[in-house]
Structure formats: C-alpha cells, structure tokens
C-alpha cells in the first residue's frame, strides 16, 4: 500500500507555519510603550523641544568627538619634528660636548675645512695649533676603537 507523500504546499502545513509565526508576530506588534500611567506623585515634565533634544544629545557626542580628535592631533602639531629620514638635513653642524666654540671655535673662521685639511695650516700664525689635531696627531691615536653604520 502506497502512502501519498505530504506535499509541502498542503493546507495543514500552511496553517502550521502560520501558527508557528504567530507568537513572534504578536510579540512584535504588541510590544509597545507601557500602558500604565505615570503615578500622580511624579512631577509633570514640560514638553521637550525635538530640536533641543537632538542638539543636546548629538551636540555632546559631536563635542566629545572634536575634543578627543584635538587631543590626539594637537601634540603632534605642537611637537617639533626636526628630522625626517625622507628629507635632507639642512641644519649647520652642531657639536655637543666639544671644544668651546664648536668646530668654528677650533681655529676661528672656516674651522671645518681646516679640520679636514690640517696641512693647509702650515705657516699660519693666526691659527691655534694646539686646538687643531694634525694628521700625525690622529695617527698617534691608532688604538682608538669604535663602530659605524648607515641607515
């Protein structure tokens, strides 16, 4: 004996589907503001202007957004970035903890060039030979150490 298979479109199935959805639909439709009236002891609040409410609630959020953004951005704007790897260094030489007067103070004017070319100081009376290391002086310190790198 063959039983006819239950069709998915049979009336019984349709009713079952509707009944299954009914509690959910009813819950959504019936859910609303509480019908209970406010107690008489409560003060009656004046009506709030919609624009005022939007400005108040949105304004606080927007203000906080602006304030936090400023707090994040301002330190970076105030803090001076004097060096960026992508940009070339345009500042003059600075010598911290060096001889008094820095490179220029070694022998007066154009000390940097003379520091690189001590042989050119021969016969100069206006140069403090004591302060300027000669090539021989540099070789005397052959036991110096150190290291170097590029970035």
């Amino acid at each position: 004996m063959n039983h006819a298979p239950h069709s998915p479109h049979s009336p019984a199935r349709r009713v079952a589907r509707l009944l299954a959805l009914t509690p959910a639909i009813a819950g959504v439709l019936l859910a609303g503001p509480a019908w209970a009236s406010a107690p008489d002891s409560w003060e009656s609040q004046p009506k709030v202007n919609l624009l005022y409410a939007v400005l108040l609630l949105g304004g606080i959020a927007a203000g906080l957004f602006v304030l936090i953004s400023l707090l994040v951005v301002l330190p970076g704007m105030v803090h001076h970035e004097s060096y960026q790897p992508a940009l070339s260094w345009r500042g003059g030489p600075e010598w911290f903890g060096g001889p008094r007067g820095g490179v220029e103070g070694l022998d007066g004017a154009a000390g940097l060039e003379k520091l690189n070319d001590p042989a050119g100081l021969e016969g100069r009376d206006d140069v403090s030979r004591q302060a300027i290391p000669s090539a021989e002086d540099a070789r005397d310190h052959a036991d110096r150490g150190g290291a170097s790198a590029r970035w």
Partner: protein, 127 residues
C-alpha cells in the same frame, strides 16, 4: 620650522642632558657631533675626536643626517671598558631610531647605552 632644519632649544637641552648623565654614569667624556662630515667619515670623526680635551678618555659620536651615517670613536682608555662589539650594539640602537626619524631619541639612547657599557666595574682581582 621646516623639518630637517635644525634642533630646537629643548632638543639641544635633551642631548646635553644625555651627555651629562652619561659622563656622570661612567666617568668618561662624551661628545656628539651632528652635521656633515666632509671627506671620509671615519678620518673626519677621528680628527674631531683628537680635538677633544682628553681624547683617550673620550667617546665621540658623529651623526651625519644628510649622508645617513653614524660613527663612534672611542679613545684608548675608553676602549678598555667599551670594546667595539659593545659600541656596535649602541650604533645599531641609534641606527634603528634614526631610520624611524627619531634623531634626538637615537642620540640619547645611543649615548646612554654607551655609558652603560662603559661603567662596567673593572675587576681588580682575578684568576
């Protein structure tokens, strides 16, 4: 002030303070030169080092931001407590900071690291 121009007063103060702290820490002299090195860097750095008041007890850090070179020269006495591999570690630290654009921070970090290595107590007795 445009980027790459020079140090601000507060940055100069920070570098000066790092040098003073380093000298207090290890009792060796520290000097930092920031600028272009004309000619080859190492000979130039050695001449700067020789121009210091007490070269044997001095450590010179040369930073050439334009050529992106950092060079450290240690005097004869300083080298006894601050050997080249230790200097290389400090140079690596500076290199990392410089590559990230932190010139002042790299100098401070490097100087402090050199001083920390140089303050190693000397053993007065041994086997």
């Amino acid at each position: 002030m445009p980027a790459g121009e020079s140090f601000t007063d507060s940055e100069r103060f920070e570098i000066d303070k790092a040098i003073r702290d380093a000298e207090t820490m290890c009792r060796y002299e520290f000097s930092v030169y920031v600028g272009a090195s004309q000619g080859e860097t190492r000979p130039f750095a050695e001449r700067l080092h020789a121009a210091l008041i007490a070269p044997d007890r001095s450590v010179l850090v040369l930073v050439d931001p334009a050529a992106r070179i950092v060079e450290v020269v240690t005097g004869v006495e300083a080298r006894r407590v601050l050997d080249d591999p230790e200097v290389q570690l400090a140079v690596l630290s500076m290199q990392t900071a410089f590559a990230a654009g932190d010139l002042v921070g790299g100098i401070k970090r490097g100087v402090v690291q050199l001083a920390e290595h140089a303050r190693r107590p000397r053993l007065l007795h041994g086997s």
